[in-house]
């Protein structure tokens, strides 16, 4: 399937939840699928975990706003706009699940900022928007990579790694769209 024909966000959500349930285990599954009782029995999650999830949530909320900016810029052609909205949908899925997990662990989920300071003046073409999005996705990959080893609960680390994989795919597709080598190296950092 072409990346321009990805499922709509609602379908992606079903896919995410369905596959998460199959691939993840323990606390992460319990938290991400809403099984409070099971989650309550699990241990290993720390205050640090809540902070890690909340920092990730802040970045996801900003990514949602960035894609919204791109979508409303009138700079994106139709198939690219559909792609951007699909990726935004993934970030919404990530944010929703992260917020629920933070709350279930007893934390206060980060909320969207009233406004974001994006480099609007530098976005003059579709390629500019895609480069901007690619930079954010690259940063997100690095951020999750730097967060995964910090989790006290390995199931949460696994769940974060699953999001990392999704963001890495976004980054690769965006690189391809702007004519760069989609996967520039064997490792991400």
């Amino acid at each position: 399937m072409s990346f321009f024909q990805m499922p709509a966000p609602i379908a992606a959500r079903r896919l995410f939840l369905g596959q998460s349930g199959l691939l993840l285990s323990g606390t992460a599954v319990a938290l991400l699928s809403g099984q409070d009782a099971l989650a309550a029995k699990s241990d290993g999650a720390t205050g640090n975990d809540v902070q890690i999830l909340n920092t990730a949530l802040g970045a996801e909320l900003e990514a949602i706003a960035a894609y919204q900016l791109g979508a409303e810029s009138k700079l994106l052609e139709k198939p690219t706009l559909a792609l951007a909205l699909t990726f935004q949908g993934h970030h919404k899925e990530h944010a929703e699940l992260l917020a629920k997990t933070v709350a279930k662990l007893g934390g206060k989920p980060a909320t969207p900022k009233p406004s974001y300071d994006f480099p609007v003046q530098q976005l003059k073409s579709q390629a500019d928007v895609l480069r901007f999005a690619a930079r954010l996705e690259q940063g997100a990959v690095s951020a999750y990579l730097g967060a995964v080893p910090l989790f006290g609960n390995p199931d949460l680390a696994k769940a974060a790694a699953s999001i990392l994989g999704d963001e890495a795919m976004h980054w690769a597709v965006l690189r391809q769209a702007i004519g760069e080598t989609p996967v520039p190296s064997a490792f991400v950092s």
Partner: protein, 134 residues
């Protein structure tokens, strides 16, 4: 070979045989900085605070930015040495920081990143941004 020539040759050989220690490189550092761009920018506050005006700044002191209590109380002043230590293991240096990132283990990468941040801070755009801050 004259003694002084032998000495020069020995020094050259010793120098060439020494482990290569590349000087910090701002261009490589810019590539390392790409890892920070989920949360940081030079001239805007995002999930993390802006980096223009970083050197000499007291940690946790950007007006209006929502820092962790841990960072506000850290009493760190950002310079080459404190950045190097923090970037290696952020949560070990400031436990409770919102910068939930394992760190940059490679000292050379940290040096490159600090060189880039220093260079970026020297640009007119960054200087103007810093000057405009309250």
């Amino acid at each position: 070979m004259k003694p002084c020539s032998r000495l020069a040759a020995s020094l050259l050989a010793a120098w060439m045989g020494a482990p290569a220690q590349a000087a910090p490189d701002a261009l490589r550092g810019e590539q390392v900085y790409a890892r920070c761009q989920a949360c940081h920018a030079l001239a805007s506050d995002r999930v993390g605070p802006h980096h223009c005006g970083l050197f000499g700044r007291l940690a946790g002191s950007v007006p209006g930015f929502d820092y962790s209590e841990a960072m506000k109380k850290s009493r760190i002043v950002w310079n080459d040495a404190t950045l190097d230590r923090f970037l290696a293991m952020p949560l070990a240096v400031v436990p409770g920081s919102s910068m939930t990132y394992a760190g940059i283990a490679d000292p050379a990468e940290r040096a490159d990143l600090i060189a880039y941040l220093k260079q970026a801070n020297g640009t007119p755009a960054c200087a103007a941004f810093s000057k405009a801050q309250p």
